[in-house]
């Protein structure tokens, strides 16, 4: 479903020329940026809260091994089971095994980026299960056989008309004369279909925003209540999430919740905050024996980031503020990245999760404007992490690579001021004529001239003129 991240430039180019996508992206400012700013303003001491969130997440990552073992014990004590998955394949198999043992066919799902990361839906379909997304945005992109384009608003790339058309194509029982213009009509249409799925599902899968080691709980925020239904209605509930989501206890998670909702949607709190600990107790018998609760904990490259410059990215609480404030994401949207996590957090994580060779564009396609780090609720130094990936990429490049040769030549000259004066004297005179150069020989110049004129230039260097003046 997702595109090839190595085709980033081509995908970005298409995205820039797609007027419908550009219309959708134009809503980021009013939808996310302003709302966050207002929520931060209302809160007051948000910077202090960010420091606190940063410290909580740092402690959690530093004690990851202990907290995870404690979490497992706590889950077991409540009658649940924990399944460890080293990679995507093990995670998918673990989920399928649980479903088979439970005799489940239809699986309703709450929104979870980790299940996107491991390609769970496609796998479950191949294995004969029927996964149904129940978050409205996820449901829409599932119908369209697309990947989410935003980590908290999966269908952000779409406009109301696109969604209406998707429903008309997928919901065959939909009367042609029924109006699907208003947002409320679209929601009602989805709700009517999803309600049936909720009632008949055998198992529910959700993600988790946080795991708390002391209580063995998974904390989940939604605005649609679909997470609760996915947990409460079926007999089997599976939480699928990454190992880095754990924190010490609910009190620490509550600090992170205050940061998360304000940073994500500008809400003080989401409509639903669900604390999921152990199997759901059946009302009639208060008997948990008929219900089961599983947590699948996925590493999938995360522990490789420990001890590297990218470790700080594991603090992420997936609020998407970095996406919403990123001018590159704002220009091209999420699909162009061709990976589960787009935007700055993707640029920091993807080289670790899917490999630097595949994700090479992500840390490079940034101006280092720094707005992502400025708004990050847990103060992840995102540009610094992107830079560290660039350094690794540079190091891995063969010595005869064009870029390495270029930098070595440039540095050779720049480290010899007299030679540099001579070279820049000539270069300053040549600039007005650069447009006549064969541009294939100078890819950076060709890039500059793609949509821009040559820069205005004096023709003489400052150092030459200054020396003459003295």
């Amino acid at each position: 479903m997702s595109a090839d991240p190595r085709q980033f430039k081509q995908a970005a180019s298409q995205a820039l020329k797609n007027p419908r996508l550009q219309t959708a992206l134009g809503r980021i400012k009013s939808h996310f940026v302003h709302k966050r700013a207002e929520a931060v303003e209302r809160f007051g001491a948000f910077e202090a809260l960010r420091h606190e969130g940063h410290a909580i997440r740092d402690r959690a990552i530093a004690n990851l091994d202990m907290l995870l073992v404690q979490f497992e014990d706590s889950v077991r004590a409540r009658g649940g089971q924990v399944h460890w998955a080293r990679d995507a394949d093990e995670a998918r198999q673990a989920v399928a095994d649980i479903l088979r043992q439970a005799g489940a066919r239809t699986v309703i799902k709450g929104k979870s980026m980790v299940t996107e990361e491991i390609g769970l839906n496609d796998f479950l379909e191949r294995e004969g299960f029927t996964p149904v997304e129940t978050d409205l945005g996820e449901y829409i992109v599932q119908l369209r056989h697309e990947a989410p384009s935003h980590i908290i608003a999966p269908a952000f790339h779409l406009n109301k008309e696109d969604i209406a058309q998707t429903f008309r194509e997928a919901h065959t029982g939909l009367a042609p004369e029924r109006a699907l213009v208003e947002r409320s009509a679209l929601v009602a249409e989805a709700r009517q279909i999803l309600r049936r799925q909720f009632e008949s599902a055998d198992a529910g899968i959700t993600g988790a925003n946080f795991l708390t080691a002391a209580e063995g709980a998974a904390v989940l925020v939604t605005n649609e209540g679909n997470g609760d239904l996915s947990r409460l209605l079926p007999r089997t509930h599976i939480v699928v999430t990454g190992i880095e989501k754990v924190v010490a206890n609910l009190s620490e998670a509550s600090v992170l919740l205050r940061l998360l909702t304000r940073s994500a949607t500008g809400q003080e709190i989401t409509s639903y905050v669900t604390i999921m600990a152990g199997p759901v107790a059946d009302d009639a018998a208060a008997n948990t024996a008929t219900r089961d609760f599983h947590v699948v904990l996925i590493d999938n490259g995360r522990s490789d980031l420990l001890g590297t410059e990218a470790q700080d990215a594991l603090r992420c609480i997936r609020c998407a503020a970095c996406l919403n404030h990123c001018p590159v994401y704002g220009a091209i949207g999420g699909h162009a990245y061709g990976a589960t996590y787009p935007g700055p957090i993707g640029a920091a994580l993807n080289p670790g999760l899917i490999g630097l060779a595949d994700a090479c564009h992500h840390p490079n396609a940034s101006t280092f404007c720094g707005r992502c780090a400025e708004v990050c609720p847990v103060e992840i130094p995102l540009p610094q992490i992107m830079r560290s990936w660039r350094a690794r990429e540079y190091e891995a490049e063969p010595r005869a690579g064009a870029r390495k040769i270029g930098f070595t030549l440039w540095a050779f000259v720049a480290r010899r001021p007299a030679l540099y004066r001579f070279a820049t004297r000539i270069a300053a005179r040549m600039i007005p004529y650069l447009g006549h150069m064969p541009l294939t020989a100078a890819p950076l110049l060709a890039g500059w001239l793609n949509g821009r004129t040559l820069p205005r230039a004096n023709g003489h260097t400052f150092h030459d003129l200054w020396r003459q003046r003295q």
Binding site: A12, A365, C369, A428, G447, R452, F462
Partner: protein, 253 residues
């Protein structure tokens, strides 16, 4: 602006050196007006930022050490750029943290280094430029000025001293213009898209001139505006201030 004479090393920046020496001369003039003795160390070239941002760390460190040596012994270092000043002030100490011979020197240089407007306002207390124009301008904050250096009020404090200047603020002043050094050449379509957003914002202010403190952003926006045949004048803040004053000495030949 009185007191002990300040010896200020002018960090010219490679873009000003190569393309627009006028900005360097305007910077020197402002520093001299503020009572500083301006020194231009000849051992300076580039601060190393292009290499650092590209991950060519060894080259970046070599240039950082060269810059540190070139400006040793001066009271202050001033650059007409938030980007280069930011590299020296914020990134040199990180870059050379493990270099026994240079870590302390890097921190020392960082403490002495300023972006031009911040230096003129915070250190020199420049508060009466006695100049005038009749221009409606808008001001572009570079990301490094805003977020590396916390420079936002200082350029405005200088512009406010020029009588007849009407400053019309951008509505999205926090947003990057899309230059980003090599980014502008490596991802030109995204870069120019971001420039278009900025230029649309500039246009909606009704300003006839765009003023900023980073030549990188300015040449990118100017070259995009020119490509689209937009009618927009672009000036570095040092040039703008000097052009508003009598007897400009901008080093034109």
């Amino acid at each position: 602006m009185s007191g002990k004479e300040r010896h200020v090393g002018l960090f010219v920046t490679c873009l000003v050196d190569l393309l627009r020496p006028e900005i360097g001369f305007a910077t020197a003039r402002l520093l001299e007006m503020a009572g500083c003795t301006v020194v231009v160390p000849s051992a300076q070239t580039c601060c190393g930022q292009p290499a650092w941002n590209a991950g060519a760390d060894d080259h970046a460190r070599a240039l950082a050490r060269q810059t540190i040596d070139a400006f040793a012994g001066l009271d202050y270092v001033v650059a007409p750029s938030g980007s280069c000043a930011g590299t020296i002030k914020r990134h040199y100490p990180t870059m050379l943290a493990d270099d026994a011979a240079y870590a302390a020197k890097a921190r020392d240089l960082a403490d002495r280094t300023y972006e031009l407007s911040a230096f003129l306002v915070r250190i020199c207390g420049m508060n009466d430029l006695a100049a005038r124009t009749n221009t409606k301008i808008t001001y572009h904050d570079s990301c490094s000025s805003l977020r590396d250096l916390g420079v936002r009020n200082e350029p405005r404090a200088l512009l406010a001293q020029i009588a007849g200047t009407e400053l019309c603020e951008l509505s999205d002043g926090e947003v990057c213009c899309g230059f980003g050094g090599m980014f502008s050449a490596k991802y030109p379509e995204i870069s120019t898209h971001m420039a278009d957003n900025k230029l649309a914002d500039v246009e909606s202010t009704g300003a006839e001139m765009l003023v900023g403190n980073d030549l990188g952003c300015l040449m990118h926006l100017e070259a995009r505006a020119k490509h689209q045949k937009r009618n927009l004048r672009v000036r570095h803040i040092a040039e703008f201030l000097c052009e508003a004053m009598p007897e400009p000495d901008t080093g034109k030949v």
